[in-house]
């Protein structure tokens, strides 16, 4: 790929490629070597001269004897002494699969309505140890003459331990990679898409040599287990495995090698020792497995799909406890079979036991369940028996293993006592004998207490600060209310002034009703009284002594001459109606009512 694209950009504006006549177009196929070792590859270059843009022809159909891989185009435009020439080369890598003599057939390409055909090329594929290129691996040299194709040098097999199995039965599956006389690298784990099976993980691969048909192979073995989840004939595979083959690079020349030399391309390759890498995907044959239904007869009730051979053990400790203290029940299942999907018989919560969710662990063909039980009362005498049923693939029958019941002794719960370790014996309590006390740490606590998130504290909680703020606000409000009431009680001026607008409001409301009744005398009486009372409260004057003169003097002191004029006019009008019984109509009453309201509003706004 390093020499795939090598482009010279022409900045000068010269005859455009459209002006190049069709007669100048030529097509040529060339290879970098005519002799290639099996497993290595050769480079095929299709060169188009006189054109700038030709799509890469698809060769996978045309050349059947090789694996074809397209590397990319290489374009060159040059202007020498005003002569314009352009060239496109498409580069392919051909990998042979067999030994023998092959021919790259004449290739036909259609360019701007013209069909161009290349010359056929003869290629000889030889076995790996070609005289001029010693292989990286020296294995299997003497056997190599028997091998004619790459498929015999590296291949993949798929085997199963059983062709016939019961539902959920564990079937061992082996994938083997056979290699001889080749350097293989970057071997990945095989890919198996088992439809209708539950697959385990691949175990650690094993590596050994094996002789098949007189040829010594290096074998890499991958093992796993499948357990079918459906019945009927099922197909496993094909297994696929990805790896890379390594070859020493053979001599080859590309049309633009001199550019590469200039750019130091070969230096780069020499650094890697001229080793060529080829990725390949190997595929094995398919495998058929017939899956049988488990027999219905004698099927235990508690059967939960365990198939294989198992041992089941249960163990409870301690067996002497106080009510409310925990007992740990430990169930172990060991054996060959579909351990992953085996369900262990756990104890359910009832009137005797409080039960915590079991914790299950599985490793190395053993499944362990640990469950914490707490007997609720001292009347509990045993942990009930536990049954585990499975289908035995050896005797082809169901088997049940029972464990327990486990007798336990439950004592009454005691009041929590704390150890009293007397550090310094008090005076007067000296023991008669010189006693040597044993010393160790006190036993652990039975119960976890109040498990709370790390970092959570009451003094950091929202509720705590709400309480603080609430009590502060409550205190302040109580103080304010108290002081206001105190002032109302002791300060008459303040109390009357506070009372003034409220009393006025009441009087005005009463007067407004009188407008509707069209009772001028009562109305003016009411209005006059209201205003007088209001002014009395406001300026702390005895109600009887209010006179216009006094009010105007007080208002003058507060620079409210305009208001005093208005008050005077209202008072005059009231007096006129009350004593001179002047005739008034509804509009007039409304007018004076409005005026009074305005005056009270204005006076409220006057400070003090």
């Amino acid at each position: 790929m390093k020499r795939a694209v090598c482009l010279i950009i022409v900045l000068l504006f010269y005859p455009t490629p459209n002006q190049v006549s069709a007669q100048d177009v030529s097509f040529e196929a060339s290879v970098d070597t005519k002799q290639v070792q099996l497993g290595a590859s050769l480079q095929l270059t299709l060169t188009f001269t006189g054109v700038q843009n030709v799509p890469a022809p698809d060769l996978s159909q045309a050349i059947a004897d090789f694996d074809v891989q397209y590397l990319g185009p290489s374009t060159r435009i040059s202007i020498v002494n005003g002569q314009y020439s352009s060239m496109v080369a498409h580069i392919y890598v051909l990998s042979p699969n067999k030994i023998g003599k092959f021919q790259i057939p004449p290739l036909s390409v259609n360019i701007s309505g013209q069909t161009l055909t290349s010359e056929p090329i003869d290629i000889e594929v030889v076995d790996t140890p070609v005289s001029h290129a010693p292989p990286l691996s020296s294995q299997g040299q003497e056997d190599s003459q028997n091998i004619a194709s790459l498929d015999d040098k590296i291949f993949l097999t798929l085997e199963a331990g059983k062709k016939q199995a019961y539902l959920h039965e564990k079937i061992s599956v082996t994938v083997k990679l056979f290699v001889t006389g080749l350097s293989v690298r970057d071997i990945q784990l095989p890919e198996l898409k088992p439809f209708g099976f539950e697959a385990d993980q691949w175990s650690r691969p094993q590596q050994y040599t094996q002789t098949v048909g007189g040829i010594q192979y290096q074998v890499v073995e991958f093992n796993t287990f499948l357990s079918p989840t459906r019945t009927g004939p099922l197909e496993v595979g094909p297994a696929k495995l990805m790896c890379s083959l390594l070859f020493r690079r053979s001599q080859r020349r590309s049309p633009f090698d001199h550019f590469d030399d200039m750019l130091g391309g070969d230096l780069f390759e020499d650094f890697f020792g001229g080793v060529q890498k080829r990725d390949m995907v190997l595929q094995s044959a398919n495998l058929n497995v017939d899956v049988l239904e488990l027999p219905e007869e004698n099927k235990p009730k508690d059967f939960s799909g365990a198939v294989g051979q198992f041992e089941f053990k249960a163990q409870a400790s301690p067996n002497q406890v106080k009510a409310g203290d925990p007992i740990t029940l430990r169930l172990t299942i060991q054996g060959e079979g579909n351990l992953k999907s085996v369900q262990l018989p756990a104890i359910k919560e009832d009137e005797n036991f409080k039960v915590y969710d079991p914790q299950v662990k599985e490793e190395n063909g053993t499944k362990v369940l640990e469950q914490v039980l707490i007997p609720k009362t001292e009347k509990v005498t045993e942990i009930p028996a536990l049954n585990f049923s499975y289908f035995d693939t050896q005797s082809l029958s169901y088997k049940t293993i029972a464990q327990g019941p486990f007798p336990i002794e439950v004592a009454k719960p005691e009041a929590t006592e704390t150890f009293k370790i007397v550090e310094t014996p008090q005076e007067g309590m000296k023991s008669p004998l010189a006693e040597s006390l044993g010393r160790d740490i006190v036993f652990i606590k039975e119960h976890p207490g109040n498990l709370r998130p790390i970092g959570s504290h009451v003094y950091k909680s929202f509720l705590f600060w709400c309480l603080v703020i609430f009590s502060l606000v409550g205190f302040a409000v109580t103080l304010v209310v108290f002081h206001r009431q105190q002032r109302l009680k002791t300060d008459v001026v303040y109390a009357r002034r506070l009372k003034a607008p409220l009393a006025a409001k009441k009087g005005l409301a009463a007067a407004q009703k009188l407008i509707e009744k069209e009772d001028p005398r009562e109305f003016y009486d009411g209005l006059f009284q209201t205003l007088k009372e209001y002014l009395g409260h406001k300026f702390h004057l005895p109600a009887g002594t209010i006179s216009v003169v006094e009010i105007s003097q007080l208002l003058k002191a507060k620079r409210q001459e305009a208001l005093s004029e208005k008050i005077k006019s209202i008072f005059d009008e009231c007096e006129m109606v009350r004593y001179a019984s002047a005739t008034v109509d509804k509009t007039k009453m409304k007018e004076i009512f409005q005026k009074t309201q305005e005056i009270i509003d204005a006076l409220e706004r006057v400070n003090g």
Binding site: S183, V184, R185, D186, I187, Q188, L189, Q201, W202, S203, R204, P205, Q207, Q218, V220, S317, P318, P326, T328, K340, Y356, D357, Q359, V360, K361, E362, E363, E370, V372, I374, T418, F419, I421, R439, D440, I441, V442, F443, I444, K445, E446, H447, P448, G449, N450, L451, R452, P453, I454, H457, V458, Y459, F464, L467, V468, S471, F475, T478, L479, F482
Partner: protein, 252 residues
């Protein structure tokens, strides 16, 4: 043959040994009981690991720290035992078992150095602070504040004689001051306390080459004054100052 070995290694690394993961809901209470059974069976290291797992899941209680301290004590890690007893004290300061075990663990520490040169008043205040948890002190302070407010309002509304209300107020104020001082001691003085979890030499300078000033056996308490990358400037309870590697101590 070489490439086979390489690839075996590659396979190894690419996760062939990834064991199945058991997705389950973590139940701290069950774990606590399981750890208790492990402790009873004498599997102290396993019990400690189980308790640590509960802590790793973000939960704690005084009992948990106490049991963890016991597990470490039994498995011979005196420093970690004392560290966890100290932590447990923050949640159950008046627990007799804890007190007894903490004292016993301290007697096992070689050359345990206690605080010296404290005045009588300081000792009383420190004891007072030790007797309560921070939460209790904070709630107590809130309660005292509420009480003072109530007394003031009673005086206002029900005209309590000022002599009585003044006396009550003075007592409450004194208590509040004590409470605040205890809280300050709790937060500031204990903030930087650490326990040596593996015996180490305190040096004159924060480098491995520095000359040794004094040695700090596992389980001693120190105050962390300053931290610099891998080193901490620490003060022994008797006032001596030196530099110790951070990994050898853990803050309470």
């Amino acid at each position: 043959m070489k490439f086979f070995r390489i690839f075996v290694f590659v396979c190894f690394v690419t996760g062939i040994l990834v064991s199945p993961v058991w997705a389950e809901v973590f139940n701290p209470t069950a774990k606590f009981y399981t750890a208790g059974v492990q402790y009873k069976d004498g599997r102290y290291a396993e019990a400690a690991a189980s308790y640590e797992e509960i802590l790793a899941n973000g939960l704690r209680s005084g009992e948990l720290y106490y049991n963890l301290g016991n597990s470490y004590f039994k498995s011979g890690q005196l420093g970690k035992a004392i560290l966890n007893y100290e932590r447990a004290k923050r949640f159950m300061p008046r627990d007799g078992d804890l007190k007894s075990n903490d004292e016993f663990a301290r007697t096992q520490v070689q050359g345990f150095i206690d605080g010296q040169g404290k005045s009588f008043l300081e000792k009383i205040l420190a004891n007072y602070a030790d007797y309560f948890t921070a939460d209790e002190l904070a709630l107590g302070l809130l309660f005292l504040g509420g009480l003072m407010g109530c007394v003031y309002l009673l005086k206002l509304f029900f005209h309590w004689p000022s002599r009585i209300s003044f006396a009550v107020m003075a007592v409450l104020l004194l208590l509040a001051v004590v409470q605040i001082t205890a809280l300050v001691i709790k937060f500031s003085a204990q903030e930087n306390l650490a326990v040596i979890i593996q015996s180490v030499d305190a040096k004159f300078e924060p480098t491995a080459k520095g000359s040794v000033h004094f040695s700090l056996p596992e389980g001693n308490k120190v105050t962390v004054l300053e931290q610099r990358s891998d080193w901490a400037k620490i003060q022994r309870l008797d006032g001596k100052i030196g530099w110790a590697e951070k990994k050898s101590l853990e803050k309470i």
